[in-house]
């Protein structure tokens, strides 16, 4: 038996060439699925663990990228290109071969929000829902409780060690995920000074936007690109993209001007034309705020008033700026609006934003030396989004899967709860409805009109590069920080740099 096993392994490693005896033993050896799986096997056998130090780390966080979202996005991306969707692969599925499952529960919740999950990823500890950059000891929206319980992030270690750092988000740059890289706050909603509670003000807590500008680590982020402009502007400043709207701050601080005054190699941009004009060679610090609030969904981006770069374009420019540092860089790229589209019960935008992130991963991979760059893609939490029924192969992923017991069609994609549910009424008849329309809201069971919810199932971690092979099995979400730290040796580098000062 052992001998037979060896023979089979040997046969498998002989690429897809089936020897006569092998072909006779395995009757389906010429089957197209069999042959393609043999090729896939060879790709896996060729993988060699990379144990060198990671010069660079790029962490893609796709907010709300549940595993069904990955599957559906993969199918949609293929179908949009006119190829088989089910067997299609998104860029990160092809480029990041090491995969683990991530347990996303938080210190106080079965189902997470984006605040403690981001802290887990960039600081290595679990904490309470709604808190950012603090340990489990800090209580929600209790400023006093966060004192002394602030964490150190991988970005702060990188700055201490002399690396460059960058954050990109299609959401507000003060939103939970990017905020976890620099902010320490018991309240994720404290994005500008007007959001602070009396208790927070009394105990000296600062809003998230001001913490970004006042971030004491090294010489600050070299790249900041995202939305959330109003949180950095004074209430008497008209927005440059829409003069009818004003900044949010009432403390008199013009944070954009303060940031500009800090550097002599800086570019601040707020539209696509300005972004395109930025020269990475001469720009040491880049700050882009492209929307008052979140940036546009990828589907809606072409109609934006002043124009916005894509997440791929932002990633490309960021790497150009950051990679000038010979010591390396740490970059977070957040696809922040997959989550928002899911909350709206709108699968189309969730999937098209997920596809946009996949393109950004390809861009990043092409621009760096993958042998010295740890690239990770993961989600912070799941969503109650499902792929259902028994639709035929190549059925439009946004289409109808079949008919239910009520005689009405039901779609392949749906939500367990959210805006797509009726209140005490039968569900809508989709017989003449174009369910592939970008604005169609998938039906849901439980009516939660304001927002579909997150889900507690595990999410995936994909990785490639130095020590990427450490991502295997089912792991705690906060392991991500520990792998990044191990691969880059940043805790040691930061400690040595501090000692040398």
């Amino acid at each position: 038996m052992k001998h037979l096993m060896h023979m089979m392994v040997a046969g498998a490693s002989a690429l897809a060439i089936a020897t006569p005896s092998f072909a006779q033993t395995v009757k389906q050896a010429q089957d197209s699925y069999y042959v393609s799986a043999q090729a896939e096997l060879q790709n896996i056998l060729a993988l060699q663990p990379n144990v060198r130090k990671a010069k660079n780390v790029i962490l893609f966080v796709v907010d709300g990228l549940s595993i069904p979202t990955i599957t559906a996005a993969r199918i949609l991306e293929g179908q949009n290109r006119g190829v088989d969707g089910e067997s299609n692969s998104l860029a990160f599925e092809k480029l990041l071969p090491y995969v683990a499952l991530s347990k996303t529960y938080t210190h106080d919740a079965q189902v997470a929000d984006s605040a403690p999950t981001a802290t887990a990823m960039v600081s290595g500890v679990k904490s309470l829902n709604g808190t950012i950059g603090v340990t489990q000891a800090a209580q929600l929206e209790n400023c006093a409780s966060q004192k002394g319980n602030e964490v150190t992030t991988i970005f702060e270690l990188a700055e201490q060690a002399g690396l460059s750092t960058g954050i990109i988000s299609t959401a507000r740059i003060t939103h939970a995920t990017p905020a976890a890289t620099y902010a320490k706050t018991a309240g994720r909603d404290w994005e500008n000074d007007t959001n602070l509670t009396d208790e927070a003000k009394a105990n000296g807590c600062k809003d998230i936007a001001s913490q970004l500008i006042d971030w004491p680590a090294g010489n600050g982020f070299e790249v900041i690109l995202g939305g959330g402009r109003s949180n950095f502007m004074k209430a008497d400043q008209a927005d440059p993209e829409d003069a009818t709207r004003m900044g949010a701050r009432k403390d008199g601080r013009d944070l954009v001007a303060e940031w500009q005054a800090k550097y002599n190699d800086a570019s601040y941009v707020w539209n696509k034309e300005q972004f395109d004009a930025v020269s990475p060679e001469t720009t040491g610090h880049l700050f882009g705020l492209f929307e008052r609030s979140h940036m546009q969904y990828e589907h809606d981006r072409p109609k934006d008033t002043a124009g916005e770069p894509s997440i791929s374009e932002m990633t490309s420019k960021a790497i150009d700026v950051l990679s000038k540092n010979e010591e390396g860089f740490v970059l977070m790229v957040e696809g922040g609006r997959v989550d928002h589209a899911h909350h709206a019960g709108n699968a189309y935008r969730a999937l098209t934003d997920a596809i946009a992130v996949a393109e950004a991963v390809q861009t990043a991979y092409d621009k760096v030396n993958p042998e010295e760059t740890l690239i990770i893609l993961t989600a912070d939490h799941s969503h109650v989004f499902t792929i259902a029924g028994y639709p035929a192969r190549n059925n439009p992923i946004l289409g109808v899967a079949g008919k239910a017991d009520d005689g009405k069609p039901y779609t392949t994609l749906g939500y367990q709860n959210g805006p797509g549910a009726k209140v005490d009424e039968p569900r809508a008849d989709l017989t003449d409805v174009d369910t592939t329309d970008p604005d169609f809201l998938q039906q849901a069971l439980v009516p939660l009109g304001e927002s579909e919810t997150h889900a507690g199932d595990d999410v995936a971690i994909f990785a490639q590069g130095p020590w990427a092979h450490l991502f295997q099995g089912v792991v705690e979400q906060n392991l991500i920080f520990h792998v990044m730290a191990h691969a880059s040796d940043l805790p040691t580098k930061a400690a040595l740099a501090s000692a040398a000062k």
């Binding site: 109609k303 003449d432 329309d437």
Partner: protein, 144 residues
């Protein structure tokens, strides 16, 4: 100008669903996505419908108060009244819908088909002081 005093409309696609037609007679339909070409620039399609009776499909945002004769038509469900939540991050692609009688409220997650006279251009409501950019006048509507 305060956020709550400004009601505008712009960008983005609309509830362009092919839905079963009911008792309403045919009128040109305008999708949210065909309202603006970019920013607050109206499309030629939208410009050509100025003054005409049209149909739009969307969602009724929760009205400001009971016994009111207008509501906001949105592309996607919005759970908050645009005038009640000054800090709400409202999209700019919203349409002010004036009704000839007090609004019979439809839940904000239920699609409605509206029909009314299409008007564009900034206009300040004399009674409320609210400013709008795209309106449907003398609106009737039905739940889908």
């Amino acid at each position: 100008m305060k956020r709550r005093e400004f009601l505008s409309a712009s960008v983005l696609a609309g509830a362009a669903l092919t839905l079963p037609r009911t008792a309403l007679a045919a009128a040109p339909s305008l999708k949210f996505r065909d309202l603006y070409s970019r920013g607050r620039e109206l499309t030629d399609t939208a410009k050509a419908l100025e003054g005409q009776e049209i149909e739009m499909i969307g969602y009724m945002a929760p009205p400001l108060k009971p016994e009111i004769d207008f509501f906001v038509l949105t592309k996607l469900p919005m759970s908050t009244c645009p005038f009640c939540e000054t800090e709400a991050q409202w999209p700019i692609d919203i349409v002010l819908a004036h009704t000839s009688r007090p609004v019979d409220v439809v839940r904000y997650t239920d699609l409605i088909r509206t029909r009314g006279r299409f008007e564009t251009g900034f206009k300040t409501d004399e009674e409320t002081g609210f400013v709008s950019f795209v309106r449907l006048m003398d609106v009737t509507y039905e739940k889908l």
